[in-house]
């Protein structure tokens, strides 16, 4: 039987492909490695890594302002590196973009420091009024691709950055 992570990655790939983005930007992440690999080898979607999430938000915002569609995939720690760019640029200038965020911390996390940012992150995003949808074990995996593509449309329709955060490790809510 396929592991939760494998199925989740397939769903995330399907969700992103359904959006038909022009560009896929990413920061390396082991849990969604198959997703990044898939788009690195994609024939139609231009894929590239970003040096740091703040730089990535700026580049993605520029792509969006220039009339093309970006999707960015980062770890949740990267929100810490980019929250100013997300709020005072993407949000303030009404630049639509979808930011996919993998959760760190919680059960299965081996890093003994990252939880100190990952656990309060949902509250930080709520306080900053950055609209975030959460995918975890409570949402059936077959619905994840639908949620991702709907989030991209929601970003366009509401003229702002939208975050979809997913806990790909399964298990209890963080």
């Amino acid at each position: 039987m396929a592991k939760f992570q494998e199925v989740a990655c397939k769903e995330i790939i399907k969700g992103i492909e359904d959006i038909h983005p022009d560009y896929f930007l990413s920061i390396p992440c082991s849990t969604v490695g198959p997703v990044i690999k898939h788009f690195e080898e994609h024939n139609e979607i231009k894929s590239f890594p970003v040096s740091r999430e703040e730089d990535g938000v700026g580049i993605a915002a520029g792509i969006s302002l220039g009339g093309k569609l970006p999707v960015m995939l980062i770890q949740d720690t990267g929100i810490g590196n980019s929250i100013l760019a997300i709020t005072t640029f993407a949000q303030a200038y009404h630049v639509p973009m979808l930011i996919l965020v993998t959760r760190r911390g919680g059960f299965g996390e081996i890093n003994s420091a990252v939880n100190l940012f990952s656990e309060p992150l949902p509250r930080i995003l709520d306080d900053a009024a950055v609209k975030t949808f959460k995918l975890d074990y409570k949402v059936p995996l077959k619905e994840w691709n639908v949620a991702i593509s709907q989030a991209a449309k929601y970003a366009q329709d509401t003229h702002r950055p939208i975050i979809v955060m997913f806990n790909i490790k399964g298990g209890a809510e963080q």
Partner: protein, 190 residues
Amino acid sequence: MMSRMDALKVLYTYTENIPVISSCGNTSREWASLGRRDNHLYMVDTMGLTPSVAIGVSLAIEDSGFKKCIGIEGDGGVLMNPNSLASASYLQPEKWLLIVFDNGCFGSTGGQTSFASKIDIAGVARGFQLETLAVDNLEDFEKAVVTGLEAEGPFVIHAKINQENHKATFINDDPAVLAYKFSSFIEGEK
């Protein structure tokens, strides 16, 4: 040594139909005081992000008729986000032209010393394998703008300026309106 305003006046004559993104603080204020244009996006915050945004716009307009997308940043801003130089080097956005006005200080906040007082930004850009011209007077700056606009790949102009600030009105527009005008211009010209 030229002032930023002197250089901006020269640049203004070359950018009637070119997307330009200007960094926050005095740079955007002085730039806007020359005359607002829809193809000019004025940053009101997020210091250091301008080169990154310009990379994104440059990628998006690669197949359009625009010659370049210009980002205007200060020395403090570019050293706050040198990652953008790494990205430009990696991505090679052919329409990206970055102009760094270097007064060796944080001019908008009272002239506090910046790293650029001891770091050669042109050398940093070249270290990232970006084609770069360094200038310190108006005549050479204009030549560099002409060269940069015709360059086939990403290009950096490192322009040394004095610490003079011109008094210009604050930009308190709704950023959403600024972005809408900019995007609409690009969409209309594509």
